[in-house]
């Protein structure tokens, strides 16, 4: 887990660099637009018709359903024999900035700690919203979002082997004990804060990643054991907090288009002043 977490973060940082680049190109486009606008007023003496011309470029937002899969979970089984998992992600655009978002998944993970070896199997569902804080230009449809989810998971844990901790090993260290105890019917629920990025790579295909901070709300634990791993929530710590991550490929299915409201024009005016 230590290694995978480190992998997450280094990976996120790498992606964050791309994020910065993406925004740089935006500013270049902005400049280009700014360049176009000053050119126009020269032949025309009045400013007002010029603004109207700008308005005639009808900008539309596409609304629809986006569905996809978490590549990290999907590919992890290739190199980690102790892990099998699948997460399907989806969101539906409710308003200009708000998306209804959900993830559903299944995990089967064997965790090998120093003194414990456990297998967790189960499914989870997370439902919530994303708020897109990114102002797209022209027909761009990128998303830099912050959102929340409520997650529920139902799972089982099997204690494969364990060690007795004895601070006074006078009779020598006792070998690993094979247990095989299975704890069924475990449940947990939690709240996630999600920071995510989605970029349109071509046509209706988006790639994205998100970072999640989780906090347990309910946690039904077995007698004489603890939920060391919760599908969807990931590893548990001594407190109620956890972290998550996903790396998704999604396909956007457009349902309808909406013209951009006049509010957009006001924003453009402000930009022109600058």
């Amino acid at each position: 887990m230590t290694h995978t977490l480190k992998y997450f973060f280094s990976f996120c940082f790498m992606l964050s660099l791309f994020l910065a680049q993406a925004q740089d190109t935006d500013t270049i486009q902005r400049k280009k637009m700014d360049e176009v606008i000053p050119e126009a007023p020269k032949p025309i003496t009045k400013k007002l018709p010029e603004e109207k011309k700008n308005d005639t470029i009808v900008k539309t937002d596409r609304y629809g359903f986006r569905v996809g899969v978490d590549l990290y979970k999907l590919t992890r089984a290739l190199y980690d024999k102790d892990y099998k998992g699948l997460e399907l992600v989806g969101d539906y655009r409710l308003t200009k900035k708000y998306f209804l978002a959900a993830e559903v998944g299944n995990e089967n993970k064997t965790t090998d700690d120093d003194r414990l070896n456990t297998t967790t199997k189960g499914s989870y569902l997370k439902v919530g919203f994303d708020y897109n804080g990114y102002e797209n230009w022209l027909d761009m449809e990128n998303i830099i979002s912050i959102g929340m989810r409520y997650g529920v998971s139902t799972f089982s844990q099997q204690l494969n082997t364990y060690k007795i901790y004895n601070a006074n090993p006078y009779f020598g260290e006792v070998p690993v004990i094979t247990s095989g105890n299975k704890y069924n019917g475990l449940t947990a629920s939690w709240i996630e804060v999600v920071a995510g990025v989605k970029a349109k790579v071509f046509n209706n295909v988006f790639m994205g990643f998100s970072l999640r901070l989780n906090r347990l709300v309910t946690n039904k634990e077995p007698d004489n054991f603890k939920n060391l791993y919760i599908p969807g929530f990931n590893r548990t710590y001594d407190g109620d907090f956890g972290v998550g991550f996903n790396y998704t490929v999604t396909y956007f299915i457009p349902f309808y288009k909406k013209k951009v409201t006049p509010k957009k024009v006001e924003i453009k005016k402000e930009d022109q002043k600058k």
């Binding site: 994020l19 901790y165 004895n166 603890k226």
Partner: protein, 179 residues
Amino acid sequence: MKKIILLAFALALSFSSCEKDDICDANTATTPRLVITFYDITNPAVLKNVTNLKVVGAGMTDGIIFNTSATGESKYLTSGNAISIPLKTNEDTTSYNFTLNSGNANPALVNEDNIKFDYTRADIFVSRACGFKTLFTLNTSNPYTHTDAAVPDEKWIQYISVEKSNIDNENDTHLKIFF
């Protein structure tokens, strides 16, 4: 928005420092030892110090180390009025050999007694880092069997009293030995 994402990164990074709950804290209550205190048989309310007591588990060559700072044979000896000895976590009996005046030049003073403890065990989950601990319950009918040494000398232990049959911590005396 950038700030929020930056904050999320920083927060996520701070979690990497939480990884070190993989080390079992020494202060965690784990598998307890059997706590024995020694009393005077003539005055049962008064604690009595043993002299150069050596405790060796059955089948073991070295005794239990009572004095970590000492070197040589003397680290196995105690002259206090209380000892803590570990019980086997993978068997339901543990036998010990209690030798009074161990290493004394006068062989008449050296006295050896055997005590076999019978108990049941329960493995209790502690934490991810510590794993499990074993708690013991001394049998109610025959918690111990007190015998003389292989080479018969008179038993130096006069009486054994079980104070607490549930051995789940080291805070209380589990067994009183009168001599």
